[in-house]
């Protein structure tokens, strides 16, 4: 029971808004000590895992390219494309991206798009421009919501597309675990059972994107428009 102290530290730390890196370190040390490990062993275990998961941080190498393109006006160009496309509403734009992201993830192409590669330089500015096309007095809060939904759409598309792909990590994990219990199941079965949820995710999130479009088209009286 004592090892659960780490979970309490995490929850309390996030709620009290301490620096998350400190909270994580404190949680790791407390959990390890509660389990009877000595400090050196905890630090070594943490260090090993940190080194083994470096691939998570590879994505930052795209930043120089994004920085170069943004300095030369990529975001402005992405916006002007939307201005020229008359039918490109906020809802349609993000719903198309949702479908594209789900479809790509379903065939295993999960790292092709993402927050650094596509959302910041392309999807978010395009979504903002599409919202502006319907509402010339978009407030800062509305702008913030459009950007947040651009990132959310990327996540929903990725999560509820990737499990349709046969060789994704989660399917291999399920297969391995169930074999441990004596059930040998083909990866294809897991893939097929991910499809109903993928469809439901598309319908639910697509519906919310339509409502977002309507909400963003409403001008809030009394609030100053941002320049």
């Amino acid at each position: 029971m004592l090892v659960l102290i780490g979970i309490l530290i995490i929850i309390a730390g996030f709620l009290l808004r301490f620096n998350p890196l400190l909270v994580i370190m404190a949680s790791a040390l407390a959990t390890g000590l509660a389990a009877g490990l000595d400090i050196a062993a905890i630090i070594a275990a943490f260090g090993k895992a940190f080194n083994d998961t470096r691939y998570v941080s590879i994505v930052w190498i795209v930043l120089p390219v994004i920085g170069l393109l943004e300095a030369y006006g990529l975001q402005q160009h992405a916006r002007s494309l939307i201005d020229r496309m008359k039918g490109a509403t906020l809802g349609r734009l993000l719903t198309s991206y949702l479908l594209l992201r789900q479809a790509m993830a379903a065939v295993g192409l999960t790292s092709v798009a993402g927050h650094a590669q596509t959302v910041r330089p392309l999807v978010a500015p395009m979504a903002e421009a599409a919202a502006e096309a319907k509402n010339d007095a978009l407030t800062d809060d509305q702008r913030e919501e459009v950007k947040a939904f651009s990132a959310a759409t990327d996540n929903v598309g990725l999560f509820f597309g990737e499990d349709i792909f046969l060789a994704i990590g989660s399917i291999l994990l399920m297969k391995g675990l169930l074999e441990g219990y004596g059930y040998v199941i083909e990866p294809l079965h897991f893939s097929l059972w991910a499809i109903p949820t993928a469809i439901a995710a598309f319908i639910i999130h697509g519906f919310r994107l339509r409502r977002l479009e309507k909400r963003m088209a409403q001008k809030t009286p009394g609030q100053e428009a941002s320049a």
Binding site: A45, V56, W193
Partner: protein, 312 residues
Amino acid sequence: MITLGFVYVLTGLTFALFAALGVADRSNPKRFGNAAFWALLALSMLGGDWLGDFGNGLLVLALVAIAGTGQIGRAPGGDVPAEEQAAHAARHGPFLLLVALIIPAVALAGTFLFKWVPGLADPKQATLISLALGVLIALGVGMARLKPPLLLPAQQGRRLLDAVGWAAILPQMLASLGAVFALAGVGEVVGDLIGTAIPHGSLFGAVLAYGLGMAFFTMVMGNAFAAFPVMLAAVGMPLLVMQYEGDPAVVAAIGMLAGFCGTLMTPMAANFNLVPAALLELKNPYGVIKAQIGTALPLLAVNIVFIWLFAF
């Protein structure tokens, strides 16, 4: 053959360059903290395999000390003026879009190429290696045509990374915390607790506990992969599959997706929820989570109903 090691070297050199440019940026009052932070990350990428487990642990402690004492900050300004950007955009617009699409296009093509033609690159890491190659090609093409000052991409890239700040290593930190949790047996303890809390005799009650437990435990751990083995052992196998004879493929597959609904709602899944908020410069660090809750909750309900309908 190209391996992930090549990508780590490239990433390490990029961080080292950010550190060097950071220390020279006198407009940033916290330039030494920033430079030390990115320099340590460069060391991790370049030499992590030679530091040993304890050495890597000390490196992490140093990163936490720098960030935790507030030594990291970004310099004000440094944006290329909007008019200048607009003027460039009018001239180079379609080209910029083309270069931006080089990265996903090369990642796509490389993923297939490296799997079909063995010997070029490690097929297990095909996408990450292709992503890195895409970056190099895009940078080369962009520099050749736009002819910017040599260091402009690195300077602008550093500014973007400074905006993300310490959140850049949050995903790696949380993954490492998960490893310590596993070592300490946190999962088994939580599993036992949930197992004893389920009302007996109700099939739907068991399905509900399994789905909600997956989502909740994923929120705590930040990762459905960490929650899944625990919930499967505590509820999925003993109750849903063995006692009520549910289809194990459905219980596993849709149970995992119930966990993904939890991922959408937790700051612990930093790379999906907190990092993009920083990258998009949102005022509310939880803005992305806020946008996702309205999708995650109904979808969680749908998943629970799907398990109940399809597994039995």
